[in-house]
Symmetry: C2
Subunit: 230 residues, 2 copies
DNA sequence: TGTACATCAGTGAACGCGCGTTCACTGATGTAC
DNA sequence: TGTACATCAGTGAACGCGCGTTCACTGATGTAC
């Protein structure tokens, strides 16, 4: 009834285009993505795609937003797989999910956190989506702090007044966190990104061969012990 | 005398090509590097470059090798800026130099440790050059261990027999290291790469603004304390 | 010191390719009476 | 239920661009006698 029929079809094809784009990105990398190859696989001509995305940039933006959504959802699901009071378990699950998502979505991951795509410029919406995934990590560390698990670690973190003011001013996304909690969350992010990113780029290959899983597990446990999670 | 004159000129122009290539990479990114734009800047025609590099791939290989050399040299210089017995000082200098080199050579750094360049396939020589930079880090940690500084940390690292065997079998580049020392060096590499890479990709921007230096210094100190360097 | 020859840097034209984007148009689908 | 009209998906041709690479050729530089 009405134009819903057409609108629905339109949405479906938009999704199909993105799905094929992801498939091709997984095969040949993000930078070689072209409208032509997508159209070819859909048995369409290239200009037809302009009915669904106003430009190549527009398509890439949509892809990046989807990637953020998928990534954030995976993190949230991992966090919520354990009750709120199991702080260590939640952080462990979060780290594992972070790494697993990246390993099973290597191209999307480097699209989000790696080198920017050549011709592409980030939109404001994509930036917000990125913040949102950081909030998940932040929430777990925040909760652990409020339960008194991290006082030993956090007390040792002291900032200059300038940085302290910067982090304090940042408390805008609904919740409020102390500068030390934000710092530790950034530290945790850097930690898991470092491991994940080197593994994704095959840098461990020569040394660890196929034992990257074990290495990562040990490192995650070491990190958690170092900051006071048991 | 003889053909040395021509050979020397040939070498100089090879270097000039690479220098201009780096300049353009710094300006517009590695993936948009083209023989045409290099030739234009040298007031040459594109085919002329084929006198100096047999293909675009060949040029990229040379660039990557140079980057590794420069990077490794920076690390070695940092390490050797302090006497061998100052283990903590050496590691600190190494971390700082690692980050500084990456920040002042962002495109080369991501050429080495980031996403591979689209059409490019790594040569065996480039792989060896990468190993060489890791050896610098390894040597400092190895020395600290032999001085008995790390026993507390290393004892806690236990591998499965399979991984232990893998790391033990690896001791081929002249020196011999225990699996735990290799593990800790990998951990240190992952740590400093994580911080560096997120900073390079502007991921800290919203949260830290221009206080990334301070954050990095704090993190480096925290890492060193956690593994037993004072 | 002077001449014949080989070497090689650089040119200009061409090849074949793929890219994103625009435009006028056809034909099918849905809407309103 | 049937007809006139509007909407819009998709086509095919074209534009302008840049890319890496090859090839036959010119002209200068260096070599050997």
């Amino acid at each position: 009834m009405t134009s819903n029929r057409r609108q629905l079809l339109h949405e479906n094809i938009r999704e199909e285009i993105k799905a094929i784009a992801w498939k091709q990105i997984a095969q040949t990398g993000a930078s070689s993505l072209s409208l032509g190859s997508i159209a070819r696989e859909m048995v369409l001509t290239t200009p037809a795609l302009y009915r669904y995305f106003s430009s190549r940039n527009d398509l890439v933006s949509a892809l990046i937003q989807d990637a953020y959504r998928s990534f954030t959802a995976a993190l949230e699901q991992a966090r919520d797989s354990l009750p709120p009071e199991e702080h260590a378990g939640r952080l462990l699950a979060l780290f594992s999910a972070y790494r697993q998502w990246a390993l099973s979505h290597p191209e999307p991951y480097s699209l989000l956190f790696g080198n920017p795509v050549p011709g592409y410029t980030l939109t404001a919406e994509a930036g917000q989506a990125g913040d949102h995934s950081f909030q998940v990590l932040l929430s777990v560390i925040q909760a652990a702090d409020q339960a008194g698990k991290l006082s030993g670690t956090l007390q040792k973190i002291t900032h200059t007044p300038a940085l302290d003011a910067q982090l304090t001013a940042l408390e805008n996304s609904g919740e409020t966190q102390s500068p030390q909690v934000i710092h530790l969350a950034l530290s945790a992010w850097s930690f898991i990104h470092g491991i994940t990113s080197l593994e994704l780029n095959q840098q461990y290959q020569v040394i660890l061969a196929d034992h990257t899983d074990e290495f990562a597990q040990i490192e995650i446990r070491r990190f958690m012990q170092a900051v006071g999670f048991e």
